[in-house]
Amino acid sequence: MRSSWFLLCAVAVGAAVFGLSRLIQSEYFFFAGYVVLQYIVLATAWNILGGYTGYVNFGSAAFFAIGAYASVAIHKTYPLPIPVLIVIGGVISGLVGLGTGYLTLRLRGAFFAIATLALAVVVQTLITNWDYVGGSRGAYILRPASAPLLGNYIEYLFLIMLALAVIAVATARAIETSRLGFGFATIRDDELAAEASGVPTLKLKLIATTLSGAFMGMAGAPLPYYVTYLDPASGFSLAYAVNSIAMPLVGGTTTWIGPLVGAILLGTIQQIATVTISSAVNLLIVGLILIAFVIIAPNGLVGLVQGWFAKKDA
């Protein structure tokens, strides 16, 4: 099958990235790379709902933080390996996605977006008042002295996030080329016409919110081990919500490659800005780039490139 071929290629690219990263021999590179990879997962997850079905989710931070706090809670009870935590975080966030979908998918456009924003506020309030996971004080996570496989913990986290990014991108592409993806696109184009053509729109939208939420949760699950100190303000940071929307928009929302390109581009710029200018300037840069793209390339980089090719053909 073509999708399994793609997965093989993606794994090969992932392996190459990891191999090259080890050549650099810089601890910092893994630190920064982890964040970029995390944004690839987040942006791809957002795009499954926002790009493919056209439902804009402003609550990405909530799904992400649910994954992270699930890890904190489990770490306090009985520490499990990170890959297991990712699965658990994914399941919990996926279920929250499913529930949110049931409650909010009657809403269209801006109303759905506002509902997801409200969800983020509700979840943050709950977590802030949940003492077991640190409440507003935050929670300290002590990493094990050495990581499995590699020994170096940050390399281990990098590898895990890299694997997750490969899985997320391969899943997004598989959806896009499948009948499910076709159905998603009809919802984005015209929900009424989709129903009239026999597309079970509610069911498809629930699949999209579940998958999207699950991947966001998976992206958040290793976070406590990365930051070692997690409090609600950083777990629910505006940066996650803004970036997971901005990256697909900058890259292009209708294909799997858009969020990937957007996340690598914006994520890298932010990491560079953090060390060269200041960490506070990040969101300003995202905002400016987003405005520029909305004006110059409303269909993102992918749309821009496609436009050039279309012109060449004509």
């Binding site: 159905g183 009809t186 053509s197």
Partner: protein
């Protein structure tokens, strides 16, 4: 023989406004029915209630002998109830052929609980495009189509679901005379293939040449139902619909 579509005592309100009041009608298998009425008389609302886009407060809709009340639109489509929209609503991000694949995948396949292969999909799409005369536009995007081609796409997409009953909601509004003739003959061709058709239309020449039976709605009430020639001479219809 029982009717294919049976609407029984259907009422639809929007707040205090009664859009449809105690509508009853039956459509037999193979019929060509015209549904007319002035703007705002409830024609589209009736179509929406039959298709499940809107839910009627009272009354029942039976299709093929079974009540369909409470079923979602897509479930009704899978039973064989198709509609085209008054303003064409193509899937704008897909080309013409892919637009037709959607009902084939989501209705025909779902109904048969099997999968058409890519070759079968291509063949079906080709056949439908041939039928409506859009064969050479298969790879075009909907935005590149003319108004009449868009209407044909709309009908083709409704037909792709292999319906038993097709409701064509003003498929001809705004078209030129020759284009109207074009669409009417297309609808008659579809009917000859065994599809029951309800045509909602303002253009009287089209309605009269197409319909074997005419139903008239005025202010949410059915005021006439019968042979077209008799209906348009009915004094009530003349007064309410055609003006004095």
């Amino acid at each position: 023989m029982a009717n294919l579509l049976e609407v029984d005592d259907l009422t639809k309100r929007f707040g205090g406004f009664v859009a449809l009041e105690n509508i009853s009608l039956g459509v037999a298998q193979g019929d060509r029915v015209g549904l007319i009425g002035p703007n705002g008389s409830g024609k589209s609302t009736l179509v929406n209630c039959i298709c499940g886009t809107l839910h009627n407060e009272t009354g029942t809709v039976r299709f093929n002998g079974a009540p369909v009340d409470g079923l979602k639109t897509y479930e009704r489509t899978r039973l064989g109830l198709a509609r085209s929209f008054q303003l064409p609503r193509p899937f704008t991000s897909m080309n013409v052929k892919d637009n037709l694949c959607i009902p084939l995948i989501y209705t025909v396949d779902a109904r048969a609980k099997s999968r058409l292969t890519q070759a079968e999909l291509d063949a079906r799409c080709g056949e439908l495009l041939e039928l409506v005369g859009l064969k050479d536009k298969a790879q075009k995007m909907p935005r590149d189509l003319t108004q009449v081609e868009m209407r044909k796409l709309e009908l083709a997409r409704a037909m792709a679901a292999e319906p038993k009953l097709l409701m064509a909601d003003e498929a001809m509004a705004g078209l030129s005379h020759s284009e109207v003739t074009d669409i009417v003959s297309l609808l008659i061709r579809l009917n000859e293939r065994g599809v029951t058709i309800i045509m909602i239309e303002h253009i009287m020449s089209a309605v009269m040449s197409f319909s074997q039976r005419l139903i008239v709605l005025v202010s949410g009430r059915k005021i006439a139902d019968g042979a077209p020639q008799q209906v348009i001479q009915d004094p009530d219809v003349v007064r309410a619909y055609l003006g004095q």
